[in-house]
Symmetry: C2
Subunit: 213 residues, 2 copies
């Protein structure tokens, strides 16, 4: 699938530690029912073999629904599980290497933490740029600044690319950055920690629709 | 290079934590001067971008010397850095996936912890089987048993493949398992912790020659 065929407006990033005893597959399936249009599998603790097995299980759920599976950081896992693409940060594989290994059709999104990084990527074929973090969040402890609403607006003025915001976004905080230029929001805890992930996604989708009026 | 062109008799597995302030490249270069014939880059803490950068630096040193660079676990790093192959354990990418992604010429070695695992791999194109651990060692804390000299002999009777031993092998302990069927030894601390890695490799090479008489 091409990046333009995907609904990136509500993008789930998984965090197994937030799920309690609930299986990841169930939470993801419920979130997609509620309106999630893309899923990023993020695993920092699993061994490679289990990471691949998990990616394959998610792919089996998502493929028939036309929802892309994006793997965080690990190009090897994406290749082995035939995922739709990868999300890479500034400490992950450089974009050019990821593109070379994954081929022209892979969906590659990149986290950016500054306007300079947006400019460095201007010539690349990206599915999206992820402004990270929009608001400082305990999920990511290795980032020191935040974009904020003003930063989102500045990024929007700088590039015509698809801009996804991540970090600290929930049904209370998402509206302002959406109105300032985000094309979509990526959420972790707003869905992974929710008692009812389907309802949480549904509510977030409503916030997104409202912000776009 | 093909697996048959490599001298696997003394195989260095890196461990950055053991190097103190010494750069990895210097220790590796010295070890190769001393007689190491293959190098496995093992990194469990580095981010992907630094892991790839490190692999590229080592490849630049090793390629002109005809010494293969094998990457532990990470097929993505091996592909990005154009390493000669990967070493995979039982928690890493399954062999069939690694072979598919790396292609027919890659050197793929697999750690085995039992005779059953040796049999499961009987039909695969492996550069080597690594009996792990030959002797229990603090470097690997996720293994509970050891092959011992008797286990090496049993493995030797079971397969004609190239057998590398790893775990607890140094100039005192290497001779017995070598006499019982190992084709080579993989060492971590015996070289990485040595004050003089070149001399340490040289001494180990002498032990190997002696055991083969």
């Amino acid at each position: 699938m091409s990046a333009g065929e995907v609904d990136w407006s509500l993008y789930l990033v998984t965090d197994r530690a937030m799920l309690g005893s609930r299986p990841l597959e169930k939470v993801v399936a419920a979130a997609v029912e509620g309106g999630v249009g893309a899923v990023q599998l993020r695993e920092k603790e699993l061994c490679t073999r289990e990471f691949i097995a998990e990616a394959r299980r998610l792919r089996q759920i998502l493929k028939p629904l036309g929802v892309p599976l994006i793997v965080n950081d690990r190009v090897d896992v994406a290749l082995a599980a035939d995922a739709d693409g990868v999300h890479i940060g500034q400490n992950d594989m450089p974009y050019a290497d990821a593109r070379r290994l994954l081929g022209p059709d892979a969906l590659i999104g990149v986290s950016v933490e500054s306007l300079e990084q947006i400019e460095e990527l201007e010539d690349q074929e990206l599915a999206y740029l992820a402004l990270s973090p929009v608001y400082a969040t305990p999920t990511k402890t290795d980032t020191i600044t935040q974009w904020g609403t003003e930063g989102v607006r500045a990024a929007r003025e700088r590039t015509r690319r698809r801009l996804i915001g991540i970090g600290g976004l929930d049904r209370e905080t998402a509206e302002a950055p959406l109105r300032n230029g985000l094309d979509g929001i990526a959420v972790v805890s707003a869905i992974c920690r929710a008692a009812d992930p389907r309802a949480a996604a549904d509510e977030l989708a409503a916030v997104i629709r409202e912000a776009r009026r």
